[in-house]
């Protein structure tokens, strides 16, 4: 259970300043606001062929753009902060398995990301006067998608922290690996928002779950090589 200590340490440091959390939340909010300006009144129009509103077609994409871009901010700082004052060396000296450091970081990153998502969804509902059909279903999809994002993102954040161009490199290498998660999360979110029928998204849920499991296990195995020196 040592990873919980690492996660608590991270979160305690974060909540002293709330620097990361605030910028993630404000960034996600701004993305949604920009979308609401950009699409404005057109969003409430009906698309006759599909018998849907324009906003139904755009909403899942907007939400996930806000989530992933804001989440990226948090991830790129997750290990960069440890580079200062030799904190990473201190962490590596902990008498625990290296994968515990990864697990701790996963939990602290996931907590920050969930806080950001929970504040973004109500803003979205307000700005687009939107009715979500199946809120528990949406939360399940968001949780699975977020874990996929965090499992890969934390590992690649540790990988890029030692490179020359870390802030630029992380999004460049993270997004291609994430595309399967984002695609299935966007599809499943769309169904949860519009019809809310859980049986329609079983395929997407399977992909998300399998992806989460594979990357969690792979990360346990290879994480130690990313921070070794």
């Amino acid at each position: 259970m040592k990873f919980l200590e690492i996660a608590i340490k991270d979160l305690r440091a974060e909540f002293r300043t709330k620097q990361m959390l605030n910028s993630m939340m404000i960034f996600a909010l701004l993305v949604i606001v920009i979308f609401s300006y950009a699409f404005g009144n057109e969003a409430t129009l009906e698309v006759e062929v599909l018998n849907k509103k324009v906003v139904d077609l755009l909403a899942p994409g907007m939400l996930w753009i806000a989530f992933t871009f804001a989440g990226m901010l948090g991830l790129s700082r997750s290990f960069a902060g440890e580079k200062e004052e030799g904190c990473l060396e201190g962490l590596k000296l902990c008498p625990v398995d290296r994968s515990e450091i990864y697990n701790g970081k996963v939990i602290s990153n996931a907590v920050l990301m969930f806080l950001m998502e929970i504040t973004t969804i109500p803003v979205f509902i307000v700005l687009f006067s939107y009715d979500i059909k199946n809120i528990p279903g949406l939360l399940v999809v968001v949780a699975l998608g977020t874990f996929g994002f965090i499992f890969v993102g934390t590992l690649l954040s540790a990988l890029t922290v030692n490179t020359r161009t870390r802030e630029i490199l992380l999004p460049v290498i993270l997004f291609p690996v994430l595309i399967p998660v984002i695609l299935s999360a966007v599809t499943a979110t769309g169904i949860m928002l519009a019809s809310g029928d859980f049986s329609e998204i079983s395929g997407e849920l399977q992909i998300l779950a399998v992806y989460d499991i594979i990357f969690f296990i792979v990360a346990q195995l290879v994480f130690e090589y990313t921070i070794e020196d």
């Binding site: 890969v152 590992l155 690649l156 990988l159 890029t160 030692n162 490179t163 020359r164 161009t165 490199l169 460049v172 290498i173 291609p176 690996v177 595309i179 399967p180 695609l183 395929g203 594979i214 990357f215 792979v218 290879v222 090589y225 990313t226 070794e228 020196d229």
Partner: protein, 232 residues
């Protein structure tokens, strides 16, 4: 000597198979069917072998990345780099030849909602970012280690791409068995022999390119060593 045999054999097979594809190979499509000019089927004879060769290159990256992390021997790093570069070229050629065929058969270069097309594009992008990772680190040991980690992570896209056509694709046909939804793409009989010849030709082409690239990297190492020794 062995290299010479490999290169000669590759060149001969590529020429022979190209000749056969363009002048002899059968086209199992009715001239009147919806899929455009039946001659566009000839693309299939190299589209599929190139795609599978790209998968194999990435499998080589995956395996040599694991072996590098286990043994920390530089040769595995050189092999991963070479296979990744060749794989990226082949993945790009898959996309290019597929788009050209798509334009003729589906009347569109790109069908953005087809899962198979997207997963092939991801495959290409992931290995491009693999090369980006290599560029971003200067120290050879660290570069080898970090890119090996990414080579292992990135390999997940290969089974995704390979399986996607079996379960989700609506447009792109499934050819290599097993295909759960029937499929087979109407490939059978003599077509298979021509196809196998093309497989041999493009596998050998990929192998020759990798061998050349490995040699190139070794020479680069040697030059650097000589430079260091003579303080140049």
């Amino acid at each position: 000597m062995r290299k010479k045999i490999l290169f000669t054999l590759t060149a001969a097979l590529i020429l022979v198979s190209a000749y056969l594809v363009f002048f002899k190979a059968p086209i199992p499509i009715d001239p009147g069917s919806a899929a455009g000019d039946p001659n566009n089927f000839r693309i299939f004879y190299f589209h599929l072998p190139i795609a599978i060769s790209a998968y194999l290159c990435f499998a080589v990256v995956f395996i040599s990345s694991i072996l590098y992390l286990k043994s920390k021997e530089q040769k595995w790093d050189i092999i991963s780099l070479s296979a990744a570069e060749v794989g990226v070229v082949f993945a790009f050629l898959t996309l290019a030849s597929g788009s050209i065929w798509g334009r003729s058969a589906w009347n569109a270069y790109w069908v953005s909602w087809d899962v198979r097309l997207n997963t092939s594009l991801i495959l290409f992008l992931i290995y491009l970012s693999y090369l980006m990772v290599r560029q971003a680190v200067e120290e050879p040991e660290k570069r080898a280690r970090l890119s090996a980690v990414f080579g292992i992570i990135g390999f997940i896209s290969v089974p995704i791409s390979f399986l996607s056509v079996r379960f989700y694709s609506k447009m792109h046909p499934c050819v290599v068995p097993p295909c759960p939804s029937g499929g087979g793409g109407g490939i059978g009989g003599v077509v298979v022999y021509y196809l196998l010849l093309n497989f041999a030709a493009y596998f050998l082409l990929a192998a020759s390119l990798i061998v050349l690239k490995i040699e190139n990297e070794r020479l680069k190492e040697k030059t650097n060593e000589l430079k260091r020794e003579n303080n140049l």
